[in-house]
Structures are given as structure tokens and as C-alpha cells.
């Protein structure tokens, strides 16, 4: 039996600011993880990644990251690395956590 596909989102860093950004349904970029468009199949994920990677003039270092769907139907990070990227460093109140 094929393993169930784990949903994924496309993430990158903003070209100028360098902070984490997330690819949205309208093929734009959001600084909010929860606003990312979610791919529920490998094909969909590849399609999103390809579309996102075309926007070289806005982002850098694009890749797919696994997510879980939260109770509010918004994606949530699975790996701690991705969770850290939604917040910022733990030693100072800097980065996204300070902008919220």
C-alpha cells in the first residue's frame, strides 16, 4: 500500500529581507505560515514548487516543507526547524515573533 501523502507547503526566504515567506494560493508570498497554500499530493506539490521557483526576483532558497492541518484548517509546521522559522530565535525576542 502506498504511504499516505503528507501535505506540504512551499517556503523560501524573502530576497531582500531574508525572512521566511510562504507561497499562497494566489501565487504570492505571505510572511504567515498559516496563509500558505497546501499541496495534498506529490504532483500538486511539484506544481507549486515549480511555480514558486519562477519568482527568483522575490525569493531565495525555495523548498517544500511538511505540514499538518490544524483545527482551523490552516497548515501548521511539523518539524521543529519549520516551527522555529515561524517564530524567530529563542535567545532574543527578534524576528517574526516580534512582528506579530
Amino acid at each position: 500500500m502506498a504511504r499516505e501523502y503528507r501535505p506540504r507547503i512551499v517556503t523560501a526566504n524573502d530576497l531582500i529581507e531574508g525572512d521566511a515567506v510562504y507561497f499562497t494560493a494566489s501565487h504570492g508570498w505571505s510572511r504567515e505560515h498559516g496563509e500558505a497554500v497546501v499541496a495534498f499530493s506529490a504532483d500538486a506539490a511539484d506544481g507549486l514548487l515549480e511555480a514558486a521557483a519562477k519568482q527568483q526576483d522575490r525569493i531565495v532558497g525555495v523548498y517544500l516543507a511538511e505540514v499538518e492541518m490544524g483545527p482551523d484548517h490552516r497548515p501548521q509546521p511539523v518539524h521543529f526547524r519549520e516551527a522555529f522559522r515561524t517564530r524567530g530565535p529563542s535567545n532574543y525576542f527578534h524576528g517574526k515573533q516580534a512582528q506579530a
Binding site: 530576497l15 531582500i16 521566511a20 527568483q56 526576483d57 531565495v60 532558497g61 526547524r81 530565535p89 524576528g95
Partner: protein, 556 residues
């Protein structure tokens, strides 16, 4: 100190102008990231988790007050008001915006600093003993040699595309404070039978995935032969080093796979040729560099102020005990300023603190500052009579933590709070350990103990050579920490041994505490250090203290 000549100045300015154009073209879309990435890395610009990072070289760890003030300015204007000093004697800015970086580099060029050769497969920033030019045990200041190496290696055509990055460390003292045995080439100054100074040449050390202690290829190399000899080593490496596998490309693997005797033979053969063709480093260049590093004119007047202050103030006495080292001039001391306050981030200094340090260097320290690979700042030349005043100023700036060489003087790499390569965080681990030992109030009782933490196998935090080393890993989606014991980064260099299975973040601090308690219980007396006790006792009692029987069965 050494000043740029016109050539250096023009070279750095051109690089900044060139990079400015490259950044513009990246932002307007005419360069793709694939094209731009190698260019930004050549200029010290990395992409981290939350932002770009700019890594600026502090060659052989030496700074003057003007440079330190400029770093403060950059921290304030383009970062979040602080900078992070690393184990490679670099400073890293964690929050620059891409479009500001050319401006930052231009400000740095104004004070003769740059980010060239802080990345890539070239000869990296040469690191040196942070007490260079000041230490009582020193034979000769190694920095003229380090500077000669910098000039020789910067943009050297033969060495821009080595199989892998290449790191050289140098010390002018027999006591190795520069971890020379963990570098691709380590140079340790020694004297021959005739009493002349020269270098012991150590090759193939390194940490990372395959940690190795460097091996001596030459017991004594006359100073004049240094450049052709190093060229010979690099030639052998360039020809035979592996380029097929990134993890096997460092010279340590070549030395290990080829065998020391064979490497020696090849290096000596190449050296014979190089030496014949080598006309010698131009004598006027060498003497100009040496003059630039001439010791400051010391003021030898002594006073009782230093001794009196120690009698009057126990806190100052503790500070002197740990943070002041012996200077070659008995009227002076070397003051180490700890960037490891309890619960703080190892190696971080605010812009305000940088300015205080710059002021102190200017007023009391012959305008010299050093950055140590242990992520502290050194005032290398302070008259003993002035140390009480320096201490007071440091205290006001939150910089008088008296813990150099003790359990809370922890090295920690940025780990997953910043670094894109990390597998786990290191900073919070350092913070938790220093807080715990502060609560226990045992730090002085424990004595010299070096804890070093890395957030991944790349080992920027030198965990392999920590008396207690900690390596953060990702174990099935959870941060997990492996402990190594018995590492040593000095002239008796040793790679630490793994205790066994790793610990979750919550269990790690209790494990470290149990290790230290075991030492306190088993040491012969207070004079036996942790490392000495570990060498006498072996790993077993420490393992028993941290693993239950079940764990040990699992580890077996």
C-alpha cells in the same frame, strides 16, 4: 598594528564596488540565485533561517578601537544592535538586509576590514593565539607570520580552488591557545637546539564529521622556509586531495588515507623544488610587517593600586583570578572580557558594549583588542595599575563576568536559532547550563572546565575538544544531544569520547550536572582538574552516573 597598503585598499574597494553591482543585478532579476550565490558567499553573505548573515573576518583576532566602533555602528544601523563573535575569530551580523550589505562592506572597508575569504574552498582567515604579542609564555608574536600568510594566500591563483576550505592557525607560544592541532595546518612556535625560533608544522587536524588531531610533519622549520614549505603542503593537497566526495576532501582525510610518512616524503620533495625556486619573501615586506606589529611602548611604572584593590574588593580579586593572565611585561596584565554572562548568548556583544571596549582599549590598552576563539574579547596590554579602573568600567557595562575558563565560559555555535545547517539549537543549552551552575554556586569549586556545544556535525562549537562536548542532533524530529568527554584543544589535543545515547533537551542539564558531581566526588583533591581526573578514571564512572542500567543495555 598592521595597516593596509595602497594595494590592499584598492583591492578591497574594488571588491565592494563589484559586489554592489552584483547585488543590484540580483535584486533587479538579471542574476539568478544560482549565479549569485557563489558571489555572495565570496563576500561573506550567507542565508540563514530568519535572515541573511554577514560574516566579517577579524584577521588573527586583532582589532583597534576604531574598528570596534565601526562594528558597533554596523550593529546599530543595520542589525539589531549587537554582533556575534565566533570560534573562527569572525564577527557575524545576523540581520542585515541584502540591499544594505554593500553599504556595510563599504563602512568596513573604511576601517580596513572585509568579508573576503570567509567562505569558499580557499585559504580562510588565519587564526592566531588571542594573547599574541602579550603572553608571558610567548617566544615570538606570531601575527607578523599570520599577516604574511594572509597576504600570500589572499587571491593566490593556485589556491582559489582547493579541494575544500583550508584553515591555518598559528601560535607563538608552546602553550597552544589557538587549537592548532584541529586545523588543516597548525603552526606552533618552538626553539631548536641552537635556541632559534621556528615552527613545528602540524597537518591534517580538523573537527567536523571526521574529527582528527593533526600530525606533526616537521618538528622544526626555520622561519625563513615557511612560505615554500606551506606551498609544498598545499601543492601536495591540491594534486592528491579528493575532489570526488565533499566529506573526504579535507587534507585530514588525505593524510589519514595516505599515511604520515608518505605525506612527509611528498611534502619534503615538493619543498625542495619550491625552495630552489623561491627567492624569499621580500625582505622589506617582512620588515615592514614586523615593524607594524612592534610591541607598544610599555609604561613600566608600577604602583600598589592593583594589589590594594584586590585586598579591598573580593569581587575584583575573583575577577583577577580568572580573567587576568600573565603579561610578558610584569607591570602589565592581559584582561579577558567574558562575553558569557549567566544566561546570556555566548559571544554576543551589544553596540554599546563594543563602544565601551573600544574606549577602554583606547584609554588603557594601547588601542588593542583581540577576539578569542573562545568567543571572548581581550584587552591584551593593560597596566596593572589601571586594571581596577578597567574592571569598574566593565562592571557598569555588564562585562565583568569573572568566569574565564570555568564551567559557564561555554563555547556555543549559533545552532538552530540562526544557522541554516543546524540540526538542533545550541544557545539555549548554553544558557540553561550556565544558569544551573550559577544556582549551584559551585563554579569556583569545580575549577577549570571547558564545555563546548555545536548545533550540528560541522562542529563550529568545537565540541570534540571540549572537556565536556555537546552535539545537537535531530533524532526523529526531536532535538537530541550527544555528550563527549575528555576532549582537549591544547598542545595535548585529544578528541572527546562519546558517552553513549544522546539526551533530550530536558534531560541534558541534569546529565551534565551528574558528570560534574561525579568529578567532584572522585577527584583526588581540588588541584586535580576535570580533565586530569577524567584521564585517570576513564569514562566508566561518568557513564554510570548518567545512564541507568536499562540505558546501558540499550547502548551496548
Amino acid at each position: 598594528m598592521y595597516r593596509y597598503d595602497d594595494f590592499d585598499e584598492a583591492f578591497v574597494r574594488n571588491r565592494v564596488a563589484e559586489f554592489r553591482g552584483q547585488v543590484e543585478r540580483r535584486i533587479d532579476g538579471s542574476l539568478t540565485e544560482d549565479e549569485f550565490k557563489p558571489l555572495r558567499l565570496m563576500n561573506g553573505v550567507y542565508l540563514q533561517l530568519h535572515a541573511y548573515m554577514l560574516r566579517v573576518a577579524i584577521p588573527y583576532g586583532t582589532l583597534n578601537s576604531r574598528q570596534m566602533r565601526q562594528l558597533a555602528l554596523v550593529a546599530e544601523r543595520f542589525d539589531k544592535g549587537y554582533g556575534h563573535f565566533t570560534t573562527r575569530q569572525n564577527i557575524q551580523f545576523n540581520w542585515p538586509r541584502l540591499k544594505d550589505i554593500p553599504e556595510i562592506l563599504s563602512l568596513l572597508a573604511d576601517v580596513e576590514m572585509h568579508a573576503i575569504q570567509t567562505s569558499g574552498n580557499c585559504i580562510r582567515n588565519v587564526t592566531a593565539d588571542h594573547f599574541a604579542g602579550a603572553a608571558a609564555d610567548e617566544i615570538e608574536d606570531p601575527r607578523p607570520t599570520a599577516e604574511l600568510l594572509r597576504q600570500w594566500s589572499t587571491d593566490h591563483p593556485e589556491f582559489q580552488f582547493l579541494p575544500r576550505k583550508f584553515k591555518i592557525a598559528i601560535t607563538g607560544a608552546p602553550n597552544d591557545r589557538a587549537v592548532t592541532k584541529a586545523h588543516d595546518i597548525g603552526l606552533r612556535m618552538v626553539r631548536n637546539e641552537a635556541g632559534e625560533p621556528g615552527y613545528e608544522v602540524i597537518v591534517g587536524g580538523g573537527l567536523g564529521r571526521t574529527p582528527m588531531v593533526g600530525k606533526t610533519v616537521r618538528d622544526f622549520l626555520p622561519k625563513a622556509d615557511l612560505l615554500p614549505y606551506l606551498e609544498a603542503i598545499l601543492q601536495v593537497y591540491n594534486l592528491s586531495g579528493r575532489r570526488d566526495n565533499k566529506y573526504k576532501a579535507r587534507i585530514k582525510i588525505l593524510v589519514h588515507e595516505t599515511g604520515l610518512d608518505e605525506i612527509k616524503a611528498r611534502v619534503e620533495a615538493a619543498f625542495e623544488e619550491k625552495k630552489r625556486a623561491f627567492s624569499g619573501a621580500p625582505a622589506d615586506l617582512v620588515s615592514a610587517i614586523e615593524a607594524a606589529f612592534a610591541p607598544p611602548s610599555f609604561d613600566n611604572t608600577r604602583s600598589l593600586a592593583f594589589d590594594r584593590a584586590q585586598e579591598a574588593n573580593p569581587a575584583f580579586r575573583s575577577f583577577v583570578e580568572t580573567n587576568v593572565a600573565e603579561h610578558k611585561n610584569p607591570a602589565y596584565g592581559i584582561v579577558s572580557v567574558s562575553l558569557k554572562p549567566v544566561g546570556g548568548t555566548p559571544g554576543d556583544a551589544t553596540a554599546e558594549q563594543m563602544r565601551v571596549l573600544a574606549d577602554l582599549a583606547e584609554q588603557y590598552g594601547h588601542d588593542e583588542l583581540r577576539i578569542s576563539h573562545e568567543q571572548n574579547v581581550i584587552l591584551p596590554h593593560v597596566r596593572k595599575a589601571d586594571i581596577p579602573a578597567v574592571y569598574e568600567a566593565l562592571r557598569e557595562a555588564g562585562l565583568a563576568t569573572a568566569n574565564i575558563g570555568l564551567v559557564s565560559d561555554i563555547i556555543a555555535c549559533p545552532g538552530m536559532d540562526y544557522c541554516a545547517l543546524a540540526t538542533a539549537r545550541s544557545i539555549p543549552v548554553a544558557q540553561a547550563i550556565s544558569k544551573r551552575f550559577d544556582e549551584l554556586k559551585l563554579e569556583r569549586e569545580i575549577g577549570p572546565l571547558k564545555i563546548k556545544i555545536s548545533g550540528c556535525i560541522n562542529a563550529c562549537g568545537h565540541h570534540h575538544v571540549g572537556h565536556i562536548g555537546i552535539l545537537g542532533l535531530d533524532k526523529a524530529g526531536k532535538e537530541n544531544y550527544q555528550i563527549t568527554l575528555g576532549g582537549d584543544g591544547t598542545e595535548t589535543a585529544t578528541i572527546g569520547e562519546r558517552t553513549g545515547p544522546g539526551f533530550d533537551a530536558d534531560d541534558l542539564v541534569p546529565a551534565i550536572e551528574a558528570i560534574v558531581e561525579t568529578y567532584l566526588n572522585l577527584r583526588e583533591d581540588a588541584a586535580e582538574t576535570f580533565l586530569q581526573a577524567y584521564r585517570r578514571l576513564g569514562a566508566d564512572p561518568f557513564k554510570q552516573a548518567i545512564y541507568s542500567e536499562k540505558d546501558e543495555a540499550r547502548a551496548a
